[in-house]
């Protein structure tokens, strides 16, 4: 089992406030892990720290990617090494078209942009300013297309289902499956994922290997993602606290 991402005792601050308190985890090559947790528990902070955004200051701990210590690398260096992130609320960039961004994402990758975009019925968006006036579902499609073109080895997805209408949920699921090579079960997978989900929607599309519950910046629980999700549905996050007390 080759480890793609390894996080060791990670402590992170945002504007002087502690948001992650000693997170450790390992994601092997080809595995998809899922994060559950209340709003404000530190889930997004973990993804943003893995991507390397400067607002998230690492106070202690290390992040290793493909065996290399990337704790101090800027986001673009991490992107080059194979980490890609889907933004929950991507900004509009005036005068920059989706096509421009896709070209940037492609870099040396020999991706047929037109073909890919057409396969997801998104060609009318190519000449539009990126993210401007996009609906919830369109934002997610645009983000996932960028990732498909970028072709990262580790995909970080922050609530891919939020704001998507029922009709489009299935398509978003298909795109994520493609991104994580879950549509080709017989080949050995090289792509890994770390996905935040509130609704558990993703579990219906992607067989996740491991689940975490994050509360107050700490990993409370690790285990089978479906069991964890069912537990949360039944007992809520309070249940997680009680469960932990029981274990103690």
């Amino acid at each position: 089992m080759t480890v793609l991402l390894e996080i060791e005792d990670l402590w992170v601050e945002v504007e002087g406030r502690e948001v992650l308190k000693g997170i450790s985890l390992k994601i092997p090559v080809g595995e998809t892990h899922v994060i559950f947790g209340r709003n404000g528990s530190g889930k997004t902070s973990l993804l943003m720290t893995i991507m390397g955004f400067p607002t998230y200051k690492v106070k202690h701990g290390k992040i290793y990617f493909k065996g290399e210590d990337i704790t101090d690398l800027p986001p673009y260096e991490r992107a080059k090494r194979g980490i890609g992130i889907m933004f929950q609320r991507p900004p509009t960039i005036k005068g920059v078209k989706l096509r421009d961004i896709l070209k940037l994402c492609a870099k040396e990758n020999n991706v047929k942009i037109e073909e890919l975009v057409r396969s997801f019925n998104f060609e009318t968006f190519l000449e539009r300013e990126v993210n401007k006036g996009f609906s919830g579902g369109e934002l997610k499609k645009s983000e996932l297309l960028q990732l498909l073109v970028q072709n990262p080895d580790l995909v970080l997805l922050d609530e891919p289902e939020s704001g998507v209408d029922v009709e489009n949920l299935n398509l978003i699921g298909q795109m994520i499956k493609k991104l994580l090579q879950k549509d080709t079960p017989h080949k050995p997978r090289t792509k890994s994922g770390l996905i935040i989900t509130h609704t558990g929607f993703i579990l219906q599309h992607v067989a996740a290997d491991l689940g975490y519950v994050i509360m107050d910046g700490e990993i409370y629980c690790t285990g089978n993602p479906i069991e964890i999700f069912e537990g949360i549905q039944k007992f809520g996050y309070e249940g997680c606290k009680n469960c932990l007390k029981r274990l103690a």
Binding site: P54, P91, Q150
Partner: protein, 384 residues
């Protein structure tokens, strides 16, 4: 320095080092003209190149188009006196006065009634000699129902350190005619520029002006005045400016809505790396049922520069719709980080955001001109 003393330090363009034709230019100069699109890459219907005080290229490829040096046109056509100094007065300021007293030629371009000149006509006013003041007077007439796309690429010799350009321009857009006028300028760090422009648009006519200046220049001050005198006439002005350290750029646009159902839009996008920028815009409603919109946006990239946005709306009637929006600010951190997550370094991200900010799609601009503008944006070093 006081405006009236500025000109005194420069010699007449007639004393310039003027070649017989373009083949005498150095490789470096040819390269600069190529960069400005004066090569086969741009399909065009006619061209006019003036070096210092002398027209060296003046040709047209199609019927319905006239291109002449203004001095020749004045001799050829008596009626031109009805146009010459009619939209601007020689007494306006010392620069118009200097041009009236000692003219260094300029171009006369006319599209005959009903002729739609599809590809652009390109003009280039080039200063080749150190310390020269080039004073030109241009007249453009687009006759009834005609269309003309004019692109002007003004520049200086790559090694000229100090130069002065005064361009007096009077544009007449007749009934149902259309003139697009695009200026793509590459001046020098020590060039002073004083364009003085008047535009008159008749019934159902339209005037579309785009000004692009992305390279260092010492000092530009201009405020074209456009009068929409016929019902249904329209005008749009777009300025795309990168204000470099050491540059002072004061660009305005003034549109007078003098007939019912006239409308206008004035857009300016400025990136301030340093220096001083003033973006003015003024719309005057002198008739009822008119519409005007002013948009002025500035992006500050350092604390070393100054940006002033001065929009002005004047109305003399109640049934009008005049609006303006102005915003000055910095690049949003989220945008830079977004692009960094896609693999761009901070500089590359900044450069792309700046380029996007300066990409203004002007309604009605022909694709060939848009391509040329895009090319200039592509080549300019935007960002740091």
């Amino acid at each position: 320095m006081a405006e009236d003393k500025l000109l005194k330090e420069f010699k007449s363009a007639k004393e310039g080092n003027i070649p017989k034709d373009l083949s005498e230019l150095s490789e470096e100069e040819k390269e600069r003209l190529r960069f400005l699109g004066l090569d086969s890459s741009l399909k065009r219907e006619g061209e006019y190149v003036q070096i210092d005080a002398k027209p060296v290229v003046c040709r047209k490829q199609v019927e319905g188009l006239e291109i002449l040096p203004i001095t020749e046109a004045l001799k050829k056509y008596d009626w031109l006196s009805d146009y010459y100094w009619k939209l601007l007065s020689p007494e306006k300021d010392e620069f118009t006065k200097a041009t009236a007293e000692d003219l260094d030629d300029g171009y006369f371009i006319r599209a005959l009634p009903g002729y739609k000149i599809v590809y652009p006509v390109q003009t280039c006013l080039y200063i080749r000699t150190e310390k020269v003041a080039q004073k030109v007077h241009n007249i453009v007439i687009v006759e009834e129902g005609a269309e003309l796309n004019l692109i002007t690429s003004c520049s200086v010799h790559p090694h000229v350190e100090s130069a002065f350009h005064i361009g007096v321009s009077e544009f007449f857009v007749k009934k149902r005619a259309k003139l697009t006028f695009s200026m793509l300028h590459v001046w020098g760090e020590q060039t002073i520029v004083r364009p003085r422009t008047g535009v008159l648009v008749e019934e159902e006519g339209s005037y579309i002006s785009t000004y692009v200046s992305l390279y260092p220049v010492k000092d530009i001050q201009t405020s074209p005045v456009c009068r929409l005198v016929g019902e249904g006439a329209k005008a749009s002005f777009a300025s795309i400016i990168a204000n470099q350290p050491g540059s002072k750029i004061d660009i305005g646009g003034e549109v007078w809505l003098e007939a019912p159902n006239t409308r206008t839009e004035i857009i300016s996008r400025t990136v301030v790396y340093g220096g001083e920028n003033i973006a003015r815009g003024k719309i005057v409603a002198k008739a009822p049922k008119v519409k005007g919109h002013l948009e002025c946006q500035g992006l500050m990239l350092s604390d070393e520069g100054i940006m002033r946005a001065i929009p002005q709306l004047d109305s003399y009637f109640y049934d009008v719709e005049l609006t303006h929006e102005a915003a000055v600010g910095k690049i949003a951190k989220e945008e830079v980080e977004y692009l960094m997550a896609r693999g761009l370094s901070e500089d590359e991200a900044t450069s792309l955001i700046v380029k996007g900010f300066l990409t203004v799609k002007v309604e009605g601009i022909p694709p060939t001109l848009q391509k040329q503008i895009d090319k200039v944006l592509e080549t300019a070093k935007l960002g740091f």
